[in-house]
Structures are given as C-alpha cells and as structure tokens.
C-alpha cells in the first residue's frame, strides 16, 4: 500500500512534507512552475527585508535627489526616477504572479525592522494573496545594555501585533540562539502562532586575512547542519502543539526521514534544489515514499515525531548527556 504522505504545516494541509524554503528561485516564474511540476508541496518566498527596502530608498534619495537642483546646467543627472519602485511593490507583485501561476500554497516571508513596518508589510503580503506568512525574526543584538528578556519581549510584541493585523496563518522562523528555546516557543504558541521554522541560517561574514577586510558570503547548507535541527525538533516536538518545520541541512531522502522522525511536520529545502535543480524535490519525495513503503509505514503522520524526546528509546542522547556519551562511545570504539 502506498503510504499517505500528507501533512499539515501552519494549518495548511499539504500533499507531502517537502516544501521549498526561502530562495531566489521565486524571482523567476519559470523556476516556480518547474518547482510545481516537480511536485513541491508549498513554496516559501524569500524574505521581504524592510531594512533593505529602506536602505534602497534612502540611497536613491541620496544619489538621485541629493544632487538635483544644485547646478545651473542640469536639474538632475538621471532620467525620470519616478517610474521605478524601491518599495515592496515588486515583491508583492511577484506573490500575485506566483499565486496566479501555480496551485500549491505560497507562503510569504517578512523580516521587518520597525514595528510599523512589520504590520504594514504583513498586511500587504496577505493582500497580495499569500496563504501564510513566515516571520523571519533574525536580527543581531549587539547592544550590551539590552538583555535577553527585553529582546524576546520586543519580538513577542511584534508577533502579537502582526497576528492581530492578518488573518492568514503565521509561522515564525527562529535562530537557535535563545537561552530557553522551549520557553520562547511556548510564548509563541500562546501568541497564536501556527508554526515554527528551525532554524534560520545566519549570514556570517568571513575574514579576508590578506586585505584585513570582511567578505560577505552566504554558503549553501551542508548535511552536517542537520544535527542541530534534529536535536531541537526532538526536544520541542512533544512539548508544543505548533507545527514544526526543519530548515537547513536536508539534502537526501534520509535527511527528510530524520527530520520527520525528530518531529518536523515539513522540511524546507533550498541548497539541495539550488545545486540539483527543481527535480530534486521529486527525488526527495520519491525517496521518502519508497522508504516508507519499504518499511511498511502507513503515513507520514506515523513517522512524525517517532524519534522525539519522549518516544525515542534513549532520550538522554538528546539532552546534555549527549556530549559525555559520545566521548565514551568514541573511547569504546577505539579501544
């Protein structure tokens, strides 16, 4: 019997758990259609970055408007700058186009920088037709006078405000760097959030030692990154009713299985698709289905969370003892 691959993600019923995570592929409608052809379960937009929009507008203001009307022979140095947009319009328009082009759910993604921005853009993404909204909470806090509680409170306030202003389901994409991730996830649950994405992959600049400069690099994920996700999925899975997404490190069908077993309802894939093309979605789905069938699983639901903290045979492996155990095991193997 073919196993039932369907799952649920932030209240939406999906045909299977393999979701396209935030990627540049959504900028191109042809790629989007190829993803649908490959059978993707849902498509996540890359984030609308409020900070980027503001920076673009301010730069345009500085370089186009700044020199204007300052010299007798030229009122300005550019053709009319009015007919190109630096606001969210292009992003919203792309959501509309994708919605019109494909049948699978489309999830908007937002990284705001001001309270007003979070709310305004969330509403606009909803109006553009997104089925759900992923809030990308990632921000770096370098101010030593701002404690963790303050930061988390601000984040919750934003989430509450967004929740109030939109009707579509809202998921939150988190970084792993919380003192108590379960407590924060509980707060999210209380705030009415529908899902949590684990984890954001952080932009981490590299150092060019020859030129004493920082290099901006955004590398594709590697399979080794999966472990951290598995651990936290397993820890959170039994303690929250929220749907969980695994994002980062899923490259092979077995990675999908592991994420589901740890407690994910869906996996978001990006790097693997960027490397192998949209057909990778179909391959992962096929691999998942084959494994389930071979191992006589009835459904994805059956496997979801099967290896989480409370169901796995040796829960201490997920907790602090993990480190000790691993060393012992290492000694044992090499004795």
């Amino acid at each position: 019997m073919k196993p039932d691959l369907s799952t649920s993600w932030m209240g939406l019923t999906l045909a299977h758990p393999i979701v396209m995570g935030a990627s540049p592929l959504v900028d191109n409608l042809d790629s989007v259609k190829k993803l649908e052809d490959a059978g993707v379960a849902a498509i996540t937009m890359h984030s609308l970055f409020e900070e980027q929009l503001a920076a673009d507008q301010l730069a345009a203001h500085r370089f186009f408007d700044g020199p204007a009307n300052s010299y007798a022979e030229a009122a300005n140095w550019f053709p009319s700058t009015a007919d190109f947009k630096l606001g969210p319009d292009a992003y919203l328009e792309q959501i509309r186009k994708i919605r019109a082009a494909v049948k699978v759910p489309v999830i908007g993604s937002l990284n705001g920088s001001t309270p007003g921005g979070w709310i305004d853009y969330a509403k606009q993404i909803e109006q553009a037709g997104a089925h759900g909204l992923e809030l990308n909470l990632y921000a770096l806090h370098s101010d030593p006078t701002k404690d963790a509680h303050t930061v988390e409170k601000q984040q919750l306030d934003i989430i509450l405000a967004v929740k109030k202003s939109v009707k579509i389901p809202v998921a939150v994409k988190l970084s792993p760097f919380y003192s108590s991730l379960p407590a924060f996830v509980t707060s999210l649950e209380n705030a009415g959030v529908a899902g949590v994405v684990l984890f954001n992959r952080l932009y981490q600049p590299d150092i060019d030692v020859e030129h004493l400069a920082l290099e901006r690099v955004l590398q594709l994920s590697e399979r080794s990154e999966l472990s951290l996700r598995l651990q936290w999925l397993a820890l959170l899975s039994p303690k929250t009713t929220l749907s969980l997404a695994c994002s980062g490190g899923v490259h092979e069908p077995v990675d999908v299985l592991k994420a589901l077993m740890a407690g994910a309802h869906v996996v978001q894939v990006v790097s693997s698709v960027l490397q192998h093309g949209p057909k990778r979605i179909a391959e992962l789905k096929k691999g998942l289905a084959a494994w389930l069938e071979e191992h006589e699983y009835e459904s994805v639901k059956q496997i979801t969370g099967s290896m989480n903290l409370v169901r796995c045979p040796d829960p201490s492996a997920y907790e602090r003892a993990n480190y000790v155990k691993l060393l012992q095991g290492w000694h044992a193997r090499h004795r």
Binding site: H61, D65, N69
Partner: protein
C-alpha cells in the same frame, strides 16, 4: 472645463505643447534648452501620446548639426517634426535652417535664447544666438514669459502649417526658460481646434514619396537661382497677417489676446521703449507704475522679428511719441546699431512716419544681466533729454567708453501686496527642490499668482544656491531678481560669513537661519555686519537647528522639508494645518512613487520642525566683536582682490567695464585665493603607519592633500602641529642640508571637499585596528585652525627638484600639481588625471579644452584652477568650442611648429654671430628628460642674452621666438560627449594627421555637464537620459577605431584600478612623436553612487573586462614587437558584480529585472568578445614600416 492652472517653467510649458503636436523630435542637449528635450523623452518613455494618439518618436543625435539634419529629413519625408536648442547649438543648425526655410517647410524650432561665446562662454540668456538666425528665412517669434512661451508654442505649430514658413520660436534663456510661474494650460481640445487638419494634409501631400516622386535640393546656376529665390516672396509678405489671424483665433479659444507688435502704455505717450523678450514684462510693469505717476510713457513689445513688419510696428506706436529707445539684448560690434534698432529705424522711415520721433538704440541684459525697473526708468529719463544718448548701455557701469546710463538702485516699484522671499541654500540640501514645490503649492493651491527663479554659483561641489520667490494677487511680471524681500532664509550659517545675505532684506523682514545655535547663543554667533543689518532694518530673527531636526528624522543633511515648514509658518500664506498638509502632499508627490521610506522621514522632519524654531530676542544694538573675514587674503594679487573677490561674494554687477580685460584673457592660478571651506570632514595623517606610497595625493580630485619631502633644516619654522617623519625611500638622496629627507602629508583644510577618496584609496590599515588607516577622515572643526597654519607652512616649502624625480608613481607626487582646487564635484573621477598631467608636463603644456565639465571647473569664473609654478610657468589653457576641440588643439601644434621652424631658420642665419656651439646645442638638444629640458631652458636664456647684445632686427625677432626651442606638450582634453559624439569627426581627422598632439578623453560614459544624457560612450545596461530603459547597444570602441590607423598611440587607463599603468601611459603617450589618444575611465555623479567608492568601481570594471587596460604603441612595430599590449588579465568577475553597485544600472534592474538580466548577459558577452578581439590583435605581428610619422 474651466482652464487648469499649473506652476511650471517655460521649458516645460513649451515642451508640453511641442510634444503634443509632433511626431518626430530630434534633439541634442544644450543649456538652457536641454529640459525641453528631456521632458519630451520622459513623456514618450512613459507612453504619453500626441494629439493624434501616437507616441512621438524621440531621437538624440550626435550634435545640433545632426539634429537639424534629422529634422530636415523627417520633414521632407512628411512627419510633423520639432526640436529645441540654444546658442552654439543654433549656430550648428543654421545651414539646415536655410534649406528648411528655402524649401518652405512647416516646422517649429524652440529656442531658449542664450549668449554666444565670444571673449568668454556664458550659459545665460540674451539674443545673440537668435540674431544669427535672422538671415535664415525663418519666422522669428519671441515670447516674453512662461505663459506666452506656452501659448506661442501652440500658435507656432498651427501657424507654420498655414504659412509654410518655418518658425523659430524663442524666449529668454534662464530668465524665461527656467522661471517657474503660474500659467493657464492650453488643453488638447484647444490644440485640436487650433491646428487645421487640412494644412497637415497639404504638408503630407508635399512629402517625398516614390509614389509621386519629386526632387529637392537641386544645384542651380546663375540663370535660375536668383529668380527662384525671389519666388518665395508672397509667402513672406503674407506672414504678418496670417500669423496675427492665428493669434486672434487663439484668443477666441482661450481669451488670451496677443498682438505681433503690442503696445502697452499711455495712449498719448511721448516716450516709448521698444524691445523683445522677458524685458518686456519688466517694462510693462514699469510703464504701469510710471503712468500711475502721470507720466506719458509706453512699451512696444516686438513679438514678430522676422519677417519684420514696419506697417504693424508703425500702426502700434501712438502718434504722440516723441522719443523712442530701441533696446537690444545683443551686441553687434562694429554695426551702426543692433538689429532691432536698425529695423525699427528703417521701418519708421520707410513707413514715412511724420513727425519722426527721436530714435536711439541701447543694449541691455547681455548674458542675463539684470534688467530692472530702475534701469528702464533711467532709459525713460534719458528720453526726456533733448538729445538723448544713442548706442547706450544700461545695467552696467561703462567707465571706458562711457556709454552706460546711470540708474537709481533704490527705486522699488513692486506693489506692497506682493510677498517676496529669498533663500540661500547649499546645492545638496534640497533648498531649490523644496522651493520649487513651495511655488507649486502657492500657485496651484491658493488664489495667488506665484513666481520662482533660481540661481546657482558655478561650482559643482559646495554650491551656494539662491531661490527668489514672489507671490501675490496679480500675474507677476517682475522678470528680475527679488530685492527688498519680506522673508529671507539662510539654510547654511557659514554662507553669512561670505555673502551679504541681508542686503536683499526689506525693513521689518523675517530672517530664518539654520544654525546649531539656540535662541540664547545665536545672536552672539553672527558676524558684526549681520547684527548691524538686523538692528538697522528691524529684522525679526528666527533660528532652527535644521540639520539636527533632519538628522533626527533620518534625513542626514537634507533639510528642505524642515525649512519649508518654517517658511510657511512664518509667511502665513496658508493656515498652518493646511500648509503642513500641502507640504506633506508635495513630499509624497516628489518621493512617494519610489516607496514610503523617504516620505515617512520627511513627515517626521515636518512634524518636528515648528517646535524647534525659535525667535531670537534682538538687542537694541550690534555688540559682536567678530567681523566677516576678508574675502581673499591680503597677499592675493591685485586683480584677485579688486575683481575676483567681488565676483566671489556675488557683487560682480558692481564692477565697471574697466575692471575687465577687453579680450577675455584671464590670469591662471586663482582658486588658491578662494579657500572655500566646504568640507565637514578632512583627512588626518598617521605618520606612524604610513608607508609613504603617495596614493592619497595622486587620487585627490582637488589637489587638496599633498605629500612632500622636507629638509629638516626647514622645519625649524614649522608650526608645532606640522607633522613630518623620516622618509623611507632610498633613491632620492639627502636633503640640501645634508640630513636625511623628512616626509610629510598635508591637507589644505579650506580646499578639501571632504570626499573621502584619499582614505578609500589608502592601502594601509593599522594591523591591530584595521578600521584605522594611514589617513582617516575626521571632523574639521577641531582641526581647521591648526591645519590652516600647517598648510600655509607647507605651501611655501620648496618642491623637490623635478629634474631629480625618478619615473615612478610615488615620486610623481613630489611634482608640483599645476591644477588645484577646482570647482569639480566632490570625488570627481576626471580631475585626478588632469592633476597628474599638470604634474608631469604642466610647465611646458598647452591645453585645448572641449566645452563640458572640464571647461566649467577648468575655466568658469570667478576663480580658475590651472596654475603656475614659482618660475611663472604652467599650463596655458583655452576653450574654443564643444565640437572643434581636436582641431583646435591641432592648431596649437601647427602654430608651435611654424614658429619653431622660423626660429630655427633665424638661428641658423645668426650662427656666425652666436657661434656654432650654442646654435648646434640648441638645435640638437635632447629634451627627453626633465634635466634635458632644464638645460635647454638655460641655453635659451643664454641665447636671449646674446641676442639682446646683438640687437639687430633679426636678433630681436628671434628673441621673441626663442621659447620655441623648448619642447612643448600639446594636450587636447575633453569628455566623451565631445570625443565620441559631437567632436568625433574632427577627432578622427586629427587622429589621422600624424601630428604630435596628445588627446585625453575623460570618459564618464555620459554627458555629465548638461545632466546625464546618453552618449555613444554610455555602456550597455546603463540608464541615462534618452536611454531611460537602459542602453541596449554597446559602447563605441573608440580605442579600436583609433588603432585602425596603425600610427596612433592608443591607450585605455583607469587610475583607480591601476595607477602605475596610468602614469606609465601618460609618459609614453607624451613621448610618442605622433598622435596619442588616452581614454580614461572617470567615475561621475551621473553614475549614482557614493564617489568615494570610485576607485573600487574602477577595479571592478577592469576585473569584469568592462573596462580594458591596454597600450597600443606604434613604436614597438619598428622593434619587431606587437604594438598592442594588454595590461589587464582576462575577466575575473561577472558584469553583475560591477554593475550592481551603481545607481545607473540599478535603475534599469528596478524597472525591469528580466530585461536587465539580458543586458547583464550582453555586457558579459561584449566584454568577452572584445577581449577576444584584443587578444588576437595582441598577436598580430605588423610588417609595415612604421617609423614615427615624418613631417610632410
């Protein structure tokens, strides 16, 4: 529909009609007409249609000559066609204009009338250009205001189709073209009724078509030409009547009636002025005022100048007139009188006027010189005399030929209910932009008529702008700057230190000052002179820290909304809430289309403004100790103190004729006296980590940071803060005192623009703290005084002996720059090349400079940057035209060689007296090195001594030519607009000439000076005016074209990417005894990014293969080497990596990402293909004989 009012300038008003009534528009940018073409392009790009539902086709040509040719062809083929031009551009159109008129072709040419270059160039307005067109056979029709320009454009397009004679419609450049005024729009339905479709049908019936072929442009012989020329007479005879009929039809449609010769004034006037253009408006206003005083005066406005209708003129003039002054806004040296005067005189005689009034002619308003009611009154006063002065001038003080009339500056005829405001701002603070909005708000949202006029100093960085606003209950005819303003604002407090800002303030005026000082300390911060004016005129003083409010709102120093809000609050033109609502609307309209961020921040600034504005309690008397600093140092030359200082503080109008050279010859090296003090931050030097590479000095666009070797013996007198450190180089020996050299880096704090290029270009980072470099930018205030003293000390130190400077990059910066402190933009990418040229060859260099940015920052008054060394030697510089620069420079070479030839023959003739040794050494001198040149100069000095002693006529003749024996370096300099487009024909000819000239093309890939129009150097994917969607074709490969001659030294350089290559190339080019062409990448504000990143962008351009580096040296052929050397590797990065950083490319991406992606691919492909071509060329072994070109 009730008529709509808009508040726009004449350029927009004219273009709005021309675009709606044309099918083809061929243009070429020229100030002040460029905006008409740009509006048309913007509208067509946005799909705006003409009256017949088609989007007019816009084409930018390579010159006005080209535009005229395209226009002529388009007309012949039957399309309704127009163009816009001005000044020199009109001159280039003249040949086609004669043909277009000779063929009786309906066509309208709109001209923003501008001064023709004579003893100097001027971008401002007068009628000298249109007067050159009076023999073309065009109808010459003049409008006097933005409303008239709008209306006359409509009538012109309709009338030319009827009369078949083309019309040159003109209005005063700047005064009308750029004056913002409330006008009533001519709607489409009026235009439809005005333009007779039958006349269009008739025009089309005459078009060239193979279906009914005809021939035009025949060559005719004596038997035919004359009669044929006379055959057009009936058409000209009919024009006055037909044209007036068109104006009458227009009046019936709009209610605005115009007469071709329109009289306004007393019906029994005894004294009348006759004139054309914007001066008619001021005259109208003045006549009205004089009539109220009971004077019998009038003004006759001549609108139709060609064909001149003596009958209509005579009929318009009251019979009572006893004295007539005909005022021309042009000068025709040597003529009996200026053109309008001559025509009026002839016309009244021919119509048999009796009694004939006394008729005198006068000149006024050249180059937009002010023409005020006081001047007009002085003309009327002159006419009261029994024999008034003829051929007078008014508006200047002529103390040489004593032609000028005096006038009373205190006269003020403006009604009290007209509100007048003057704003002094900085170019980059948004002052003019917001004032343009203010005028729109008042003109369009209140019942007031409103007028705005704007003036800019001629610098491209730290520009001071002046905005003149008027509003009131009646149409505003005051075509002159505002005086006695009831509101004055100074948006940047340091302007008070230089300009007499309150000179324009009326008693009791409000004065708004943007200053960091609060109400308690502001008074004490003012110069004594300003305090005195405030007290004397009982001015109310308001202060606001606009920069703080703007910064808090996240707008940096863009204070426009803050100051605009304060203006509305103080002027009470609108209730406060309504004013704020309108300002917010204006902000939304200006910036909202691109997104909300800038709008939001401006809203915050507006909301924060009023509570931060404070009135200052003014004491009963001035108590300040501090007076304004002198404009220039007392050490400056007399001419600088007497003349340039007046120009610097905006008081040039007060200088008499005798102050000026009669032939436009001007001293060099005057920027150094200006000391503008515009930088907010200046570089500071850390001697401890500096590696003494001199790159900071090399890249500085303004020669404001310099390096030098210092003899420790000379540092004894140095100020305490003057820094030196042991020189690390080994190859420059010891200082004269025998000590090791010390090294210093010094900034000129008052000449630096704060661009930051030097810091970006500095390669040295502190190892423990890489953010800190060997030079860092730091706020100027705590440093200014000390650095002034340090600079004064530095500048009197001797420069390193140029004969001992080795040929390498670092050492090149020990050579004295002879191009300094220009008015170029902060961060300019062109000027570092010019400065380097001046260092290498400046003391024996002649520069031919094409019109453009280089000629403006190089030669615009008041002060100019080309300078001379302590021996009095330096670049000799001249600008001829835009289009002829290569030929102009070639002329230098021919002239120098001719004089040298004569000198050689005289020398040989005098050999018996001079001795063979001297003669031979002079003739055979090797001048390949600085030492060789120094020796030759010494020989020339000895020769002169000998010749003076000989004393024969031949000896005297040779003495005057003796300079010729010293090698001269001819440099032909200009931008890409010149080299790739308008001057390319001449450039190509010079390339083929084989003469010893050097051509430096400062390639910004766009017309920079006239505002960013596309040139053939504009690269694929860049947005520019006339290529708004991004240029889809590749850049012309000028270098490759030049290489095709085989005997031209050709190079492509980018100083920011590979500076040593630039230096090497300059030296090799100069030493090549034929034509050299260097194409130099020059970053520019028209590229849309922070220019302090300019060098990084140059590197990326080279790495992406977008900008190649190479040298093609024909000398190598004789050495059996391939002439072309590629000096950069194969592309390392994608075009995107370079293009993503610049606004000109980003605009295209934002507009259409998909199209941009294809342009990126094309840019990569172009770069790769060109590289392939070059690589193949770099492998071609030439076999032809290519000794350096021989003289014919």
């Amino acid at each position: 529909m009730s008529p709509r009012h808009v508040t726009i300038d004449a350029n927009e008003a004219v273009a709005s009609v021309a675009h709606r009534l044309s099918e083809v528009i061929a243009i070429y940018p020229i100030t002040p007409a460029s905006p008409m073409g740009e509006f048309s392009d913007d509208w067509s790009a946005a799909g705006k249609k003409n009256l017949w539902g088609q989007v007019p086709s816009i084409v930018e040509m390579q010159s006005e000559g080209g535009a005229a040719g395209a226009v002529h062809g388009s007309l012949q083929a039957g399309a309704l066609t127009t163009t816009f031009t001005s000044s020199q551009g009109l001159l280039l159109m003249l040949p086609n204009m004669l043909k277009i008129a000779g063929e009786l072709t309906p066509f309208v040419l709109h001209v923003a009338a501008r001064t023709l270059a004579t003893h100097g160039l001027s971008i401002y307005g007068d009628h000298s250009d249109v007067m050159m067109a009076r023999t073309t056979g065009f109808t010459l029709l003049c409008s006097n205001s933005p409303q008239e320009a709008h209306d006359f454009a409509a009538v012109s397009h309709a009338a030319t189709l009827k009369t078949r004679v083309p019309i040159l419609h003109f209005f005063d450049g700047f005064r009308t073209s750029h004056e913002v005024n409330r006008i009533t729009l001519v709607e489409d339905d009026v235009l439809s009724k005005l333009v007779d479709e039958d006349t269009i049908a008739a025009f089309r019936a005459r078009k060239l078509t193979p279906d009914a072929p005809v021939l035009r442009g025949t060559a005719q012989n004596p038997d035919a030409f004359f009669q044929g020329r006379e055959a057009c007479n009936p058409f000209y005879d009919a024009i006055p009547t037909m044209l007036q009929a068109e104006f009458d039809r227009f009046a019936a449609l709009t209610g605005r009636q115009y007469k071709l010769y329109e009289y306004f004034g007393h019906p029994e006037a005894e004294r009348v002025v006759v004139l054309m253009g914007s001066g008619c408006e001021a005259s109208h206003e003045t006549v009205e005022w004089l009539m109220q005083k009971g004077e019998k005066v009038g003004v006759l406005k001549v609108r139709l100048f060609r064909p001149f209708s003596a009958e209509l003129l005579a009929a318009a003039l009251p019979k009572s007139v006893k004295a007539l002054a005909v005022l021309d806004r042009t000068k025709e040296p040597g003529a009996l009188g200026e053109p309008l005067y001559q025509d009026v005189l002839t016309g009244l005689h021919e119509t048999g006027r009796s009694p004939m009034p006394t008729i005198v002619g006068g000149r006024y308003g050249l180059s937009s010189k002010e023409f005020t009611p006081a001047m007009i009154i002085s003309v009327f006063d002159e006419l009261k005399k029994s024999s008034p002065k003829n051929h007078f001038t008014v508006g200047i003080h002529d103390d040489v030929t004593h032609l000028s009339l005096p006038w009373d500056r205190s006269i003020d005829i403006e009604p009290k209910d007209v509100v007048k405001a003057v704003f002094f701002g900085l170019g980059s603070d948004g002052t003019v932009s917001s004032n343009k909005q203010t005028i729109k708000i008042i003109g369009e949202e209140t019942d007031n008529y409103a007028q705005g006029f704007f003036y800019y100093d001629s610098k491209k960085s730290g520009t001071v702008t002046m905005s003149y606003l008027r509003f009131g209950p009646r149409p505003i005819r005051s075509t002159y700057l505002v005086d006695k303003a009831s509101f004055v604002a100074c948006h940047y407090a340091p302007i008070l230190e230089k300009f007499d800002v309150l000179d324009v303030a009326a008693p009791g005026a409000s004065f708004l000052l943007n200053t960091p000082h609060g109400p308690d300390t502001a008074w004490a911060s003012l110069p004594r002179e300003v305090q005195e004016q405030i007290v004397e005129k009982k001015i109310r003083l308001y202060v606001i820290d606009g920069f703080k409010v703007a910064a808090e709102a996240g707008l940096g120093r863009y204070i426009s909304a803050v100051m605009q809000t304060c203006f509305f609050a103080l002027s009470n033109v609108l209730p406060k809430d309504e004013a704020i609502a309108r300002i917010r609307e204006g902000v939304k309209k200006a910036y909202g289309k691109r997104g909300e961020e800038v709008v939001k921040r401006n809203y915050a600034a507006i909301d924060g403004a009023l509570s931060k504005m404070h009135e200052v309690k003014v004491p009963s008397g001035a108590d300040g100790k501090r007076k304004r600093p002198p404009v220039v140092s007392d050490a400056a030359p007399d001419f600088v103190k007497r003349v340039e200082a007046m120009l610097l503080v905006g008081k040039g109008d007060q200088l008499p004729v005798s102050a000026f050279p009669a032939d436009g010859t001007w001293p060099t090296g005057t920027t150094k006296w200006e000391r503008r003090g515009i930088a907010l931050e200046i570089p500071t030097w850390d001697a401890g980590i500096c590696i003494q590479c001199n790159k900071c000095a090399l890249i500085c666009p303004h020669a404001a940071i310099r390096t030098q070797l210092v003899d420790p013996a000379a540092t004894a007198k140095a100020p305490a803060s003057f820094k030196t450190t042991l020189f690390k180089g080994k190859d420059l020996g010891h200082a004269p005192s025998g000590h090791p050299w010390q090294y210093t880096v010094q900034v000129a704090p008052d000449d630096c623009t704060g661009c930051g290029l030097c810091v970006q270009f500095c390669p040295v980072k502190d190892k423990a703290n890489p953010r800190h470099k060997a030079i860092d930018m730091a706020p100027i205030e705590p440093l200014r005084e000390a650095e002034r003293q340090n600079w004064d000390h530095f500048i009197q130190l001797p420069y390193f002996d140029r004969t001992q400077v080795p040929n390498e990059l670092k050492a090149s910066q020990f050579l004295e720059p002879l191009f300094e402190f220009s008015g170029a933009c902060a961060g300019c990418g062109e000027t570092p090349y010019l400065k380097l040229l001046s260092q290498l060859f400046g003391d024996r260099m002649l520069v031919a400079n094409a019109t453009g940015c280089t000629s403006i920052y190089g030669g615009n008054l008041p002060t100019t940057p080309w300078t001379k060394n302590k021996d009095g030697r330096g670049p000799a510089w001249a600008n001829s035209l835009f289009e002829d620069n290569a030929e102009f420079g070639l002329g230098y070479r021919l002239s120098l060689d001719a004089q040298k030839g004569l000198a050689e023959s005289l020398l040989k003739g005098l050999a018996p007296k001079l001795g063979d040794a001297l003669v031979t050494s002079l003739l055979d001198a090797a001048q390949d090195t600085e030492a060789g040149i120094k020796e030759q100069r010494a020989r020339v000095a000895s020769l002169r001594q000998e010749l003076l002693a000989i004393g024969t006529p031949e000896a005297k003749k040779l003495e005057r030519l003796a300079d010729s024996f010293v090698k001269k370096s001819v440099w032909i300099v200009g931008g890409d607009g010149w080299a790739y487009d308008i001057g390319y024909g001449g450039l190509d000819h010079v390339l083929a000439s084989g003469q010893n000239v050097n051509i430096l093309v400062l390639d910004t890939e766009v017309y920079s000076n006239t505002g960013g129009q596309a040139s053939k150097a504009t690269p694929i994917g860049a947005a520019a005016k006339f290529a708004a969607a991004g240029k889809s074709s590749g850049k012309k490969d000028l270098g490759l074209l030049a290489m095709s001659y085989g005997n031209v030294f050709v190079a492509s350089v980018a100083m920011g990417a590979k500076d040593a290559h630039t230096l090497k190339t300059f030296r090799e080019a100069e030493s090549y005894p034929g034509v050299s062409l260097i194409i130099a990448y020059s970053h520019c504000i028209a590229h849309g990014y922070d220019l302090k990143q300019g060098c990084e962008q140059q590197k990326l351009a080279v790495d992406a293969g977008i900008w190649p580096l190479y040298r093609y040296d024909p000398r190598r052929i004789a050495e059996n080497q391939v002439p072309l050397q590629l000096d950069a590797g194969t592309p390392k990065i994608k075009a995107r990596d370079y293009m993503k950083n610049e606004g000109r490319f980003r605009m295209v991406e934002m507009r259409d990402p998909k199209r941009f992606a294809t342009l990126l691919d094309a840019a990569d492909a172009n770069a790769a293909e060109r590289r392939l071509v070059y690589e193949q060329l770099a492998n071609v072994q030439h076999t032809r004989s290519t000794k350096p070109p021989e003289k014919p």
